[in-house]
């Protein structure tokens, strides 16, 4: 209490200084007068009396100083004074101050923005309780598209029984459904889960309750748990939502709770429901068939169990499972199960890009700091006389250091504050980028931790900058005076440091530029890739008219759906300008909603020993599908109107299919049929069909993926689980979006329009993440280039200005402008070449790290490296030229006189 009171009094004391000073002077004077009077009374002369009184007093100034120190908070006042002084000093060199602050703001801003993203998406602990104990089990095979296949219920059972490392294993089946609401039907992604799912995931309800084992099995009422974001987005955070119902695929599902915000992986989920919603998921087929894989699984490790322990158990179960069911696990396909920490699994798709951006930002900060360091060094040399004079007047090394620190703190903190403002905008941009690859984009915030990081960096930088500058040594005042009050020197050490910093800047810029160059060339390569179809005036619509559960429930669904598709097709054809409309199961340039992993028997093709059976992506197509999409017919015919339900079964294949299975023969007239363990429960026609045509390849798996073998069956001959339309028009394709939507809504009001986009949009969408990536890295490297160029020019200009006298003497002895220019250029050129060499070497050894982001060019692409080196060299030389030119214009007469 008494200390607090004293503290408050002292803080107040800082603001009443002048009045208190006057009062103190009066108090001390009256003390002195009383003492003097007393001395006089004792018989001294008045002069002697005053002398003795002063002697006892012990120095009025020192006393006043002691009281003043006691009155306020001296350290705070000194800091404030230092900062005020620093502000004035910096204000006197506005260009220096602005350059430093902007450079730091850019460097710190980029780092703050990207660090917040990295932290939110990759580093921050999951919101799940004990999120470190969560693991994702990934089932993979060697076949195309087999990186992450699901598990079947018997397989899940094996792991539950055989891996005691887990305290729980939860099942989650991603499942498309249609949500019927007042505003029409929407397609939603649902997750069907076992009752223990939320407990295993370590998530709790913000409203209501979550599922338990009581929600498992048949005969229980269907229930739903809403993810937090869907509850906000769709229901406006209705606090009375619990107990209300949803209509999903015709089922009435009761909402029992709202889940806390949490990322969902591997699929985004709009509604969580129990398995009973889909009768198929409780059917004998689902429960007993080992190849019927529709389930994702997450496990929670028991406390104290290590990841390696769990891995060993999972491996043992996997091996036993494959041994006991040899018929199901074809050894050529290399079935395997890996255990991945959940957080890592979630971050996997974003991690390479984000770390690359983080590295680029860190590089920019390194270059920026080097530049600021250089500027500070130069300024330090220019200020040497001032510092020497201060030292001579009694400022100790500590005091001078504190002065420099105050200046640098001011620079760094203001720079950081500007940087945070930049970062706020940057984070918005980056969040949009990251949302494509990570479900944790919602968790990105510039929070206290990030701000702490930013200001920590700023303070460290300020400290470093204050200690690179050399202080005048003891007694250097004399030397300075003898030198005639001129600049003492930059000092050999200082100059060497400056040069080293320039070399580092150039080298780091080259590494960054090389990365940017590689990514940009990747972009160019990708946009040159032909999609395989006409990109002009084609609209695609993905709109399944009924969801899978409705199909399974209603035997007449397929007929009804096909009739409706024909109605829609007819209406769209009647729209003005429309030239062709084709139906199909999946639109070109997109991956099918569900990949059907059938094996194929191809007449005349025997897989080589050890190779998997023939496989192809299965799609359906109606007449005009290829015409409308502009996919060229290479041989034979396309799908015709006559390929109707009763007619003979036919197929059209793409060029990749032909290259894989009929490399040297004519495929027309050959037979293929579906085979493999999945055929027995598929409604697809399972007997032989005849290949009637070959069409061109399309880049359906993305522009950066090689085309896959594809086989098209007639739309009319197979069930229409999935469906959409390709529309070709003769003008303004975007204007078709509204009328097409209206037709769909009229004919099938309950159908969900999954996606409606022109082919150009689809193409741009598949390029967008890489484009943004290339643009970000390019702007970072451009920034680095500019900063580095300023750095080179600055250091050379400084070097020239310290050598003005020398150059003047050289010129008066006969050197001409060209020789002086060559001398300065040579000095800069040496640094430039050294930096270039180091940078190219650095790029050579690090570019392999971004192999995964490249397409069509090797990481050590000589063309890129050469052009990057040329660019850096040219800009660097230009930066050298300016000070060189200035040096050559030095007037010897003027310099000699001023010396």
């Amino acid at each position: 209490m008494r200390y607090l009171r004293a503290l408050i009094a002292r803080i107040a004391g800082m603001f009443t200084r002048s009045r208190a000073d006057a009062e103190l002077a009066e108090e001390l004077a009256s003390h002195l007068a009383m003492e003097t009077e007393e001395n006089v009374r004792r018989g001294m002369t008045s002069a002697e009396a005053r002398r003795r009184a002063l002697l006892v007093a012990g120095g009025l100034t020192q006393a006043a100083e002691a009281v003043r120190d006691r009155r306020g908070l001296p350290w705070l006042e000194h800091l404030a004074a230092d900062l005020r002084y620093a502000w004035r000093t910096l204000g006197r060199s506005p260009v220096f101050t602005a350059v430093v602050m902007i450079t730091l703001a850019l460097g710190i801003g980029a780092n703050t923005a990207i660090f917040s993203v990295v932290r939110g998406v990759l580093l921050k602990p999951l919101p799940n309780r004990d999120g470190d104990q969560l693991v994702y089990l990934r089932h993979s095979t060697d076949t195309p598209g087999g990186e992450d296949i699901n598990f079947s219920v018997p397989e899940v059972g094996d792991f539950r029984a055989g891996a005691p490392a887990f305290s729980g294993i939860a099942e989650f089946c991603p499942f498309f459904a249609t949500l019927q609401g007042e505003r029409g039907a929407t397609r939603i992604q649902t997750g069907l889960v076992t009752g223990n799912f939320f407990e295993v995931m370590g998530l709790s309800a913000v409203l209501g309750r979550l599922t338990t084992s009581a929600n498992d099995g048949p005969g229980v009422p269907p229930v739903a748990v809403l993810p937090y974001d869907f509850w906000i987005r769709r229901f406006g955070a209705d606090s009375a939502i619990v107990g209300k119902t949803l209509r999903v695929d015709g089922n009435v599902v009761t909402i029992i709770g709202v889940l806390q915000p949490a990322p969902s992986f591997p699929e985004h989920v709009d509604v969580w429901m129990n398995m009973v919603v889909s009768p198929h998921h409780l059917s004998a087929q689902m429960v007993q068939d080992r190849v019927h894989r529709m389930t994702e699984i997450v496990g929670r490790l028991k406390p104290g169990v290590t990841l390696d322990g769990a891995r060993a158990q999972v491996l043992a179960v996997d091996q036993r499972m494959q041994r006991d069911n040899a018929a199901v696990y074809d050894p050529t396909q290399h079935y395997r199960v890996t255990v991945v920490p959940y957080k890592q699994a979630i971050g996997q798709r974003s991690s390479l890009t984000l770390w690359l951006l983080m590295a680029a930002a860190a590089f920019v900060l390194v270059i920026a700091s080097a530049n600021v360091g250089n500027l500070t060094l130069m300024r330090g040399v220019r200020r040497e006389p001032e510092l020497v004079a201060r030292a001579a007047l009694g400022a100790g090394a500590g005091r001078l250091r504190r002065l420099l620190l105050a200046e640098n703190l001011l620079l760094a903190v203001v720079g950081a504050a500007l940087g945070v403002v930049l970062a706020i905008f940057g984070v918005r941009l980056l969040t949009a980028l990251v949302a494509r690859t990570s479900p944790r984009a919602d968790e990105i915030h510039i929070d206290w931790m990030v701000l702490g990081f930013t200001f920590g960096v700023a303070v460290l930088l300020a400290l470093a900058l204050s200690f690179v500058a050399s202080l005048p040594r003891e007694g250097s005042f004399g030397a300075w005076i003898t030198a005639g009050g001129r600049r003492v020197s930059g000092g050999r050490g200082t100059q060497r440091l400056q040069r080293a910093l320039v070399v580092v800047q150039v080298a780091v810029s080259v590494v960054l530029l090389a990365g940017a160059g590689l990514l940009t060339r990747t972009m160019i390569r990708l946009s040159d890739v032909a999609t395989g179809l006409s990109t002009e005036q084609v609209l695609t619509v993905q709109a399944p008219l009924k969801s899978p559960t409705q199909f399974l429930a209603d035997p007449n669904a397929d007929t009804e759906v096909k009739q409706n598709y024909e109605l829609i097709r007819g209406d769209i054809l009647a729209l003005p300008g429309v030239k062709a409309v084709g139906l199909g199961s999946a639109m070109p340039l997109t991956t099918p909603t569900l990949s059907l992993d059938f094996d194929l028997l191809v007449e005349g093709y025997t897989p080589p020993a050890g190779a998997p059976p023939a496989q192809a992506e299965i799609r359906t197509a109606g007449p005009e599908y290829f015409d409308a999409a502009g996919i060229p017919l290479i041989r034979g015919r396309g799908i015709a109107v006559t390929d109707a339900p009763g007619a003979g079964h036919v197929a059209v294949v793409n060029q990749t299919f032909v290259a894989a299975y009929f490399p040297h023969e004519d495929p027309i007239g050959r037979q293929v049929r579906l085979t493999g363990p999945l055929v027995k429960f598929s409604p697809y026609y399972a007997d032989w069909r005849t290949i009637v045509g070959v069409v061109g390849d399309t880049r359906d798996g993305g522009l950066d993926a090689a085309p896959r073998a594809e086989i098209f069956f007639p739309f009319a001959q197979e069930p229409a689980f999935f469906g959409g339309l390709v529309v070709r028009t003769d003008s303004n394709v975007a204007a078709l979006i509204n009328p097409v939507t209206r037709i769909l809504r009229r004919v099938a009001p309950d159908a969900a329009i999954e996606k409606i986009a022109t082919v150009t949009q689809l193409r741009d969408e598949s390029l967008a993440p890489r484009r943004l990536n290339a643009e970000l890295i390019s702007s970072f490297s451009l920034l680095a280039l500019i900063i580095a160029a300023v750095g080179i020019a600055g250091v050379l200009a400084f070097s020239v200005s310290t050598r003005t006298n020398e150059i003047g003497i050289r010129m008066s002895l006969g050197a001409d402008g060209v020789m002086v220019q060559r001398m300065v250029l040579g000095e800069g050129g040496r640094l430039l070449v050294l930096g270039l060499l180091l940078g190219i070497a650095g790029a050579y050894f690090t570019s392999g790290l971004i192999r995964g982001l490249l397409f069509g060019i090797p990481p050590r692409d000589p063309t890129t490296f050469l052009s990057v080196a040329t660019m850096m060299g040219a800009i660097g030389l230009l930066a050298c030229w300016i000070p060189a030119l200035r040096a050559s214009r030095i007037d010897p007469a003027v310099t000699m006189r001023s010396a």
Binding site: A6, S30, M34, E37, V67
Partner: protein, 114 residues
């Protein structure tokens, strides 16, 4: 005049407070004179010691001040003990007494226990 002593840390505040308690409102000169006399001139307080100590006591709320005329009609700053100051004198005096007893117990030579 005895040997000169330095002011022991922490003792000056109590001496000032006690002086004000004994003599009532007093200016800095008066306080200094009194402490010198009581210490039989073994302590002399220069201004740099006395005035910061007075200011500290004031900041802590143990004394207040007012300006008024001194005995010989000079304007001077008179310090007065507050109620909190009075309590502080009692507390500090008790603590010092205890400390002094303790130290005395250690310093007085005692016959060995029989």
């Amino acid at each position: 005049m005895g040997d000169k002593m330095d002011v022991q840390p922490g003792t000056l505040a109590l001496m000032i407070l006690r002086t004000l308690e004994m003599l009532g409102p007093l200016h800095g000169y008066g306080v200094a004179r009194r402490i010198e006399e009581v210490s039989r001139h073994r302590l002399t307080l220069n201004y740099g010691t006395l005035y910061p100590a007075l200011l500290k006591l004031e900041q802590e709320g143990f004394v207040t001040h007012e300006w008024r005329a001194s005995e010989n009609n000079r304007r001077a700053k008179f310090y007065t003990l507050t109620a909190a100051g009075r309590r502080q004198v009692a507390r500090a005096a008790r603590e010092w007494q205890q400390t002094a007893d303790l130290i005395a117990a250690f310093l007085v030579p005692r016959p060995e226990a029989t």
